[in-house]
Subunit: 468 residues, 3 copies
């Protein structure tokens, strides 16, 4: 009994299904382009074995542990590290058993699709995970992980990854990227410039971070001009490690284009820890426009990822720290928020700004109309909780009619869960082929065009948009 | 000619339809669990005959009379009582004729599905209602109503209701519930605790209501501690009549967790009628957290029903009073609004808080992500205007990928329209089976799992979530 | 090879497709009723040939040039006139070639459906437009345009237009309408009253416009009473040219019903150019209620078109002026915004107020519940970016269950693109038939009823709602 249905995610009606199958056959073996993600470059640098099934599939995957927790499993019992270093479950097999006993919770979720895909295609598991087979599956995966062909580089090649981007702070020395480069390995791993720690006045240790930025670049980064110059220097340094993009994870989509003196004054206040919330927000917003102007100079693609209320639970934050599955999407406005940036640089076709959203109501109402007219603006794929079959379908249905396909940028897996990468691309390709098949079956697109678009969405658009 | 299509609401494609049929066959005869609703306990207590077809189907059903009114029928002509006791149509047959002549207005609405279901399955009507057969249908129904097998208790048994909850104010003496209990009848009718009249400073006669609450419990409810103790006492009294839940119908989802002294001060101001709108709102929000804390003590499930702009038309309100079909959904935010309550009690798995919404944009963006991580939070089913095939489909499509099925609580019929209860559960079971069949047909769920989930959604989740 | 699929936009499953085909066969040849649009009355008055393919299909169609621009084509290169009269591409063939080379950008958009429909059915083009056939298609269309059967009146008849409305300012002398009337041509072209220039204090030259209004009517329009009387006079004048409706394109859905003295004071301030933004907004909101009261007198239908952020790009506005594809939808609230108007006139069944939206989240949450109870309120069809297959489908799915079909008003093509009119009605009829077929196939509507509703949606509702 196979875990995966060969025709999964295709339309159910016969002719549309046949069309989807044919479209998918043309793209299923294309290399994976992963222009935005959060895998650890150390994996590729050291190429060490992954420790055990629980620490591969459960403990680091917030989709997985948040669902188990929502039905009562304490995060400690899932081995999630505590902020105070206190005790949590240390036996990976115990963690795995909780996961296996509660595998029914994932019915109908994308996690289930990704997990089954990895279990079957990577580890040869053909039976659905359950309390009954928990230990057997654990043992099978653990045995595999000990073998060389399950190390990160071998999997990279097996997964047919053409290029993958990781994400680093400007303060990162990119030592793992240097180690990869110096190793002679042919895998292409590039970095991306994520300056939140030195751009967001509310980031922990903002002022100290800016000082470090100065130290790394030999600039006085505590002055406005030196600060901008230091950014330019680090961007250039990152470009030396294949970087083609920057990434900005703000709470809102706000942008500003302030007079330089005003920006300098806000920066100064921020450094002295005296910004109001409003001033911090304005400064972040202004920095997006500065980053866009630097992009016009150095060609880096600018990504905006707004709209998450981070670390929503005070209790979980105190006990386990950041990024524990408590980031919750909020309503996000783009029309007024992006205007200052778009007025400054939106008409420049040589610039690429990619906007993501966690507020699906903005797809058809705001983002597609904006991307459908401004030459610099493109739409990022369905993101985070919407990196899912229904989420991707809604994205295409809501954006295509106004922005077309060519103002979108293909797929991002955006993941820390290495084993889920092939599954995520597989889901995206299937959902896009299903969408295209439906357009063909309803007379909205010719079949030859659908094949071309399928190829674009699966491969070419990501390379073009991210300049990879 | 039958009114009901045997395969109604199933997918149209053959294989998916077959799957839906099979799933539905496994759940169609399960007993009805109705954990939230507004039927009148007096019906079950007195077991008197319903008066006539118009007063059964038209005059008390705001879905029905609002639609007729929207196309020009005065509410008076539909027999809706006037606030001033002035004249309205007294002849039920005249009301019924307006209804029958305008039956085409209900095309494509859930009311149409519910009405046809009751007409056919309860009264044996097999012809679509129209001006031509208005009198004949009226006579047939009227004849039935005069017979003992159409009295409330007989219908309760015929409908296969395992348990039904009504909703009462803390000021209610539960006399009808006592009468049911003392009657020896085996039907299980429980109450639910809806304290809006003594929790909402803007409720008519708030201060007098709080005094009554004190009188009923022997507490000085005009002091903060006595007020809370009085709530505890009434909750315990309600539990004596099978109550397992409380219900809160606020205008927004706002919660607060104020210092006790601040809450006491707000309460005092409210009693003296001196709350500002903002203070009244803060007080309501704080009381949700107090209610949640009491739930931790006594085990009652807490339901939050926010987001309706009540009694929108000044003219209709003046002429006919509250609840005349003019309650309109509004945009509702949950991420910030629920944070105080969730910070206080959201991590307690022994608590169940069920959130409903009238703002579908919050399903995928806010509510599913919150319910998908907080152990105390569950999602109520598609509510009110969304208790409909498209509404339920959108609910499953928007919530399942992030919250799964097991952070939802099955179906509520939420109705005052007794005859619609079987139809509403039938619609919910069919739509859920259609959704599950589509998951199976697209390789997202195995068939054996779909059968289990269908049973859970139709029966087990409601019993478990509401502790029935 | 045909461009158009005979079964386009119908459901893919066989039985549902057959039902849709049958429904469509009953309505495909009904005359077109176009109660709201922006074609130029001069076309019908002078009946001159259209100049060339580029100035027919590209330069005046903001859907087309915005998409080309979004991928880097300068608006100058598309022949869009500059505000300063500076040079833009003057060779229509050069413009056409850019369009043809980039025809793939329109894949999956409604523009593509409209363009292919016009190319094939009007000009007999049977091959998809491309760089390769750009000149050949250009020549074929250009040849046609030179022939008498491609002049506006001939096309009007060929398109089977029963009646079309244009839109004019109260300051317009309706000379083209007079010329049409006096020409003896049988085509029915009516005007609509769009008073934004004399109602919106922020409209360019507001005070001067009001003076002109006075001059045209012999009233002192700078006084509040004279201003209202002047409106009444112009409305009567417009009615003389077949006008049955007014139209109001405000930024928000705000309405007000102020005491007359307050309204007069706001008007006075507006005339003197001293309104704050808030006061200007309040005045616009109040004028909607005044217009509704005049509608009670003279029977004109009132249309509200809110929610567009006009001329979003400062740079494009400066270079090319208004209406260059930079109007972006914004979030729009209706529940509170429409209350003053609805409290004033919403209960009057002899009045018709038609509300449109660019915020789809309001369909199910706000607009359908409001239209489903207020006798005066109806829902306009899916508008602007949502005049598309997915947009129309979402409109029906979101509104029908709560408002039914009979609180909607049929289709508006709302276009300046004359050649797209048959295509737009064709899309609307097909999408509605597909929706109805799905209701029938899922047991929610009987087939005989679906035929009746299809006829209503395609023809009768528009005539009835607009009193045409």
């Amino acid at each position: 009994m196979a875990l995966l249905d060969e025709d999964r995610l295709f339309p159910v009606e016969g002719r549309a299904r046949d069309l989807a199958r044919a479209l998918h056959a043309g793209v299923r073996d294309l290399p994976l382009v992963s222009p935005h993600g959060h895998t650890d470059p150390r994996w590729y640098a050291e190429d060490a074995a992954f420790p055990d099934p629980a620490r591969l599939f459960v403990t680091p995957d917030h989709y997985v542990f948040r669902m188990l927790h929502s039905q009562g499993a304490p995060l400690e019992a899932l081995g999630v590290p505590r902020a105070d270093g206190g005790e949590t479950e240390a036996d990976p097999r115990a963690v795995w058993r909780i996961f296996a006993e509660n595998y029914h919770l994932f019915r109908g979720t994308p996690s289930r699709l990704w997990l089954d895909h990895a279990f079957e295609t990577v580890f040869g598991v053909s039976e659905r995970l359950s309390a009954a087979n928990a230990d057997a599956v654990y043992d099978r995966i653990a045995d595999c992980l000990a073998r060389p062909e399950y190390r990160p580089r071998a999997l990279f090649e097996r997964f047919n990854i053409e290029v993958i981007a990781t994400t680093e702070s400007p303060l990162d020395d990119l030592r793992w990227h240097a180690m990869i480069r110096d190793s002679g390995w042919s895998g292409r791993v590039v970095t991306a410039y994520r300056p939140d720690p030195v751009v967001d006045p509310e980031f922990p240790d903002f002022a100290a971070n800016v000082e470090k930025l100065g130290a790394l670049t030999g600039e006085d980064a505590t002055g406005w001009d030196g600060y901008l110059t230091a950014h330019r220097a680090r961007r250039a340094f990152f470009k030396g490690f294949g970087c083609t993009s920057t990434d900005h994870g703000h709470a809102t989509a706000r942008t500003e284009d302030l007079p330089q003196a005003d920006a300098a004054a806000l920066f100064d206040k921020a450094l002295r820890g005296r910004s109001t919330a409003e001033e911090a927000d304005a400064f972040r917003g202004h920095m997006l426009t500065e980053m866009a102007r630097m992009s016009l100079e150095d060609g880096l693609v600018l990504q905006i990822h707004p709209g998450s209320f981070r670390n929503h639970s005070a209790q979980a934050m105190a006990r386990f720290g950041r990024d524990k599955g408590y980031d919750i999407p909020t309503r996000t406005d783009y029309v007024r928020a992006l205007k200052p940036l778009l007025d400054a640089v939106g008409e420049r076709p040589e610039l690429t700004v990619i906007a993501f959203t966690l507020d699906e109501t903005a797809y058809a109402r705001e983002l597609a109309p904006l991307a459908g007219v401004y030459p610099a603006l493109r739409l990022g794929p369905a993101w985070w909780f919407y990196d899912s079959p229904e989420g991707m379908r809604r994205f295409r249905e809501a954006t295509t009619e106004t922005a077309g396909f060519y103002n979108t940028v293909g797929f991002n897996d955006d993941t820390r869960a290495y084993l889920s990468i092939p599954a995520r691309h597989d889901v995206a390709r299937r959902v896009d082929c299903a969408f295209l098949a439906t357009l063909v079956a309803t007379g909205r697109l010719a079949e030859d065009e659908a094949h071309e678009v399928a190829h674009d969405l699966s491969y070419r658009l990501a390379k073009r948009a991210y300049r990879l």
